[in-house]
Amino acid sequence: MKKILSGNEAIARGAMESGVRFASAYPGTPSTEILETIAREFPEIHAEWTPNEKVALEVAAGASYAGARALAAMKHVGVNVAADPLMTLPYTLIRGGLVLVSADDPELFSSQNEQDNRNYARFAKIPMLEPSSSEEAKDFVKTAYRLSEEFSTPVMLRTTTRISHSKGIVELEEPEDPPRASLERHPVEWVMLPANARIRHPVVEERLNRLKDYSNSSEYNVMEINDASLGIIASGAAYQYAKEAFPDASFLKLGLSYPLPDVLVREFAAKVKELWVVEELDPFIERQVKELGIDCHGKDRIPMCGELNPDIVKKAISGSVNTGSSSLKLPARPPNMCPGCPHRGMLWALKKNKCFIAGDIGCYTLGFLPPLDAIDTCLCMGAGINHAHGMSKVLDGGKKKIAAVIGDSTFFHSGMTGLLNLAYNKGIALVVILDNRTTAMTGAQDHPGTGIALDGSKNIEIDLEALVKALGIDWVKRVDPYDVDTTRQKVKEALEQEGPAVIISSAPCVLLPSRRVSGVPLKVDSDKCTGCKVCLGIGCPSIEFKDKKAIILDTCTGCGICKAICPFDAIGGDV
C-alpha cells in the first residue's frame, strides 16, 4: 500500500516497521512530528516526551542496553544538549539497535543557528545515514537498526527541514519481529571508568574501519553514470536539487554518507571530467574528498549559509551570474505572538519597570519584534537566567533591573540548574517563569508541569512554586499576566527585594482549550480614542491604526491587555 508521508511521519513508520519498542524526544522544530506520529499511530511503541534531549538519548540508550530497539529524536541544537552521552555511547556495547535522529535546520526557519550536525557523526565516530526523500527516510531507519546491531554502535539518521517536512509517496511494509528485552551485565563494556574506556576506544576505531568497508559496498551509496563531463557527489536534499538542475549529469549519491566510501569516491572521480560536491552548510563531504587527494569544486561556488535549491545549484555549477530575484519590496509578515497571548501582559509590565530582559527559547522570544521590543538576549535553551545572573553580578551598584524570562517547558528543560545556581551564588536577578501550561512554540506539547504524558495519561503534575522554593528561592509570587496593573506592581516589588525573586506568570496559552479569554472582540470608542498609539505598543496583531484612530479587528480574543493600558479608557467590551 502507498501513502503520502512527511519525512518525519516516514521515520515514525520506519521505527514501527523495525520493531522499535522505545522512543523519546524533546519537541523541537523540525523534529517534533516523529514522536507525535509514533504516539498517535503506533501505540505498541512506548513513546515519551523527556524534559530535554540529554534525557531523551540516555533513556533510549537504557532501552537499548536492555536489548530493545530504541529511537531518540531531536532538532540539531538538541544534539548539543545530548552531546555528553553521545560522545561516550559509541564506546559502549549497543544491544538493541539505537538510532539518534538529528533534524537540522538550514536556513534557520525555526532555530537559533544552522549548525551542520553531520560533524557530530564524524566527531562521535558513528555511522550516519542521510535520506533524500520520505521513502528513503523510512527505509534508512530500517537499515539504521540493522547497522546498529551488526556493528554494535549508535547510528545517526540526519535529516534537514526539507526532508522532515516535505511529503512524498512511501510504500508501506509489515513490521519486523522486535528483539526481546532481557537483562544482561557487561561491566567492561558499560562502566566507562578510565580502565574500561581505554579498552573500548580501540574498538571504536577498529569499528570505524569496518564501517568504511561497509560504506563502500552499501546499496545506499550508488553511482549513476550518465554524461561523464559533470560528476556530482551529493546526499540528502542536496541530491534532489542537483538532480533537478542537472538531470543528465553523473551522480555519486551517498545515503550512508559517513564514513565516506573512499573507494567509491576514487572510482567515481576517475570516471568524470569535472567533479563537484553539492552539499548544504559545511563542506563536510568536500573536505573528506580533498583529504583523499582528489580535487573538486564545492564551497568555492556553492554557498555555505542557508538552504540550497535547484536554482542556486544550477547557477553555481553552470557559472551563470546570479541575476537575483525581483527586487519587489513588500511588507514582511513575520510570525508574531498570537492575539490574546498572555506573554504580552508580562513583557509589558517588565518594560514599564525599565528592565533589561534576558530571554530564552519559546514564543516569548517573538516579543523581540517591534513595537514591543521586549527581549534583549536569546542564546539557547536555559541561557536567559544565567545571562541575567552573570550580568547582575558585575554591574556596579548591586541591584540593577535585570530580569530573565523563561517558559515553563524551557524551565524544565534547562532552566532549573540556572535557578539553582542563582540561589546558591546569592544572585539578585528577577526570574519570571512564563507558565502557559504547554510547549507552545512547537505546537502545544505537554511536559512535567502539566503532568500529562505523551500517551495522554495523567501522571504527576510538578508543582512549579514548590520546585522553585526547593531550588532555594524564598520570594516566589504567582501573578495573572492579564491583570496588567497588578502584574506591573508585582514586578516592581520583586525588583525591590534584596535577594533573588521569582514571579510565575500564570495563564494558559491562548491556543489551548483551557485559555482564559472571552473570545469576544473588544471595541474602540472612536470618540474617546485620541490616537495616542499606546495600545499599539503591545504589538497585538488585532489592533490596526487607521485614520488616526485605533481599530480592533475581529481576530481579537478579548484578553483585555490593551483595554487595561489605554490611558483614555477608550477600549470597551467585556473581558
Partner: protein
C-alpha cells in the same frame, strides 16, 4: 505540474495542499510537497509547493516553473511571482490581511493586481470568503479554493470529493464538499469573462 499555494497561517493551506497531493497520487503521479510550518501558527506567511509528474526530484519548485499559483491572501500572491512561468495561472482569493507594519500605519498595503499583471494575464479573483460565509462556515474557504483550482487540473471530481471527505471529520464533510462544488461553479462562470 507545479502548484504553489500561498497565504497566512491558519487559512487551511496545509490541508488544501495535502488534498491536492493525495488527488495527484491517486491519478498515478509521483508527488512531492513541501512547506515550512514551524511558525505557521503564529500568523506568518505560509507557502506550500506541490509537484506531480512521472518522477519528481526536488521538493521545491525551481524559479520560473510554477504552473498555478493559488493565493489565499492578496499580498501573499506578490511574494512568489519569481516562481511563475510566463503563462502561469494565478488564482487569488479576495482577502486582505494587513501585515503588522501596515496595521500600525508604517507601510501601505500594495496594489497587488497590477504587480501580478506584469507577470501574467491569466488572473482569476475569487471571493471565497463570501461563499464560505454563505455556507455558514468561514473555515471551508480552502475547499472553495480547491474547487476553483480543480477546474484547471482535472475534470474528474470524484477523486477530489473522495479525498476531501477522507481528510475531514464527519461533521464538516458535507459543507466542505458543497464549498468545493461552489468553487468549481464560480470558476466556470468566470471563464467567460476572465482568463
Amino acid at each position: 505540474m507545479n502548484v504553489v499555494m500561498a497565504g497566512v497561517g491558519g487559512q487551511g493551506i496545509i490541508l488544501a495542499s495535502d488534498i491536492l497531493a493525495e488527488v495527484a497520487m491517486r491519478h498515478g503521479y509521483d508527488v512531492k510537497k513541501s512547506e515550512i510550518h514551524g511558525m505557521a501558527q503564529r500568523g506568518g506567511s505560509v507557502m506550500s509547493h506541490i509537484r506531480f509528474s512521472e518522477k519528481v526530484f526536488s521538493p521545491v519548485i525551481p524559479e520560473g516553473e510554477c504552473d498555478i499559483l493559488l493565493s489565499f491572501e492578496e499580498l501573499e500572491t506578490a511574494r512568489y511571482l519569481d516562481f511563475l512561468r510566463p503563462d502561469a495561472w494565478v488564482l487569488i482569493n479576495r482577502y486582505r490581511l494587513p501585515p503588522p507594519t501596515v496595521s500600525i500605519g508604517k507601510e501601505m498595503y500594495p496594489e497587488v493586481e497590477g504587480i501580478v499583471r506584469e507577470k501574467t494575464r491569466r488572473i482569476v479573483f475569487v471571493d471565497a470568503g463570501d461563499i464560505a460565509l454563505s455556507l455558514g462556515n468561514k473555515r471551508v474557504l480552502n475547499s472553495v479554493l480547491l474547487g476553483v483550482l480543480s477546474t484547471l487540473l482535472e475534470p474528474d471530481t470524484d477523486t477530489w470529493e473522495q479525498c476531501i471527505a477522507e481528510r475531514l471529520p464527519e461533521k464538516v464533510r458535507d459543507v466542505n464538499i458543497m464549498a468545493f462544488r461552489m468553487g468549481r461553479d464560480i470558476r466556470q462562470e468566470n471563464k467567460v469573462r476572465g482568463g
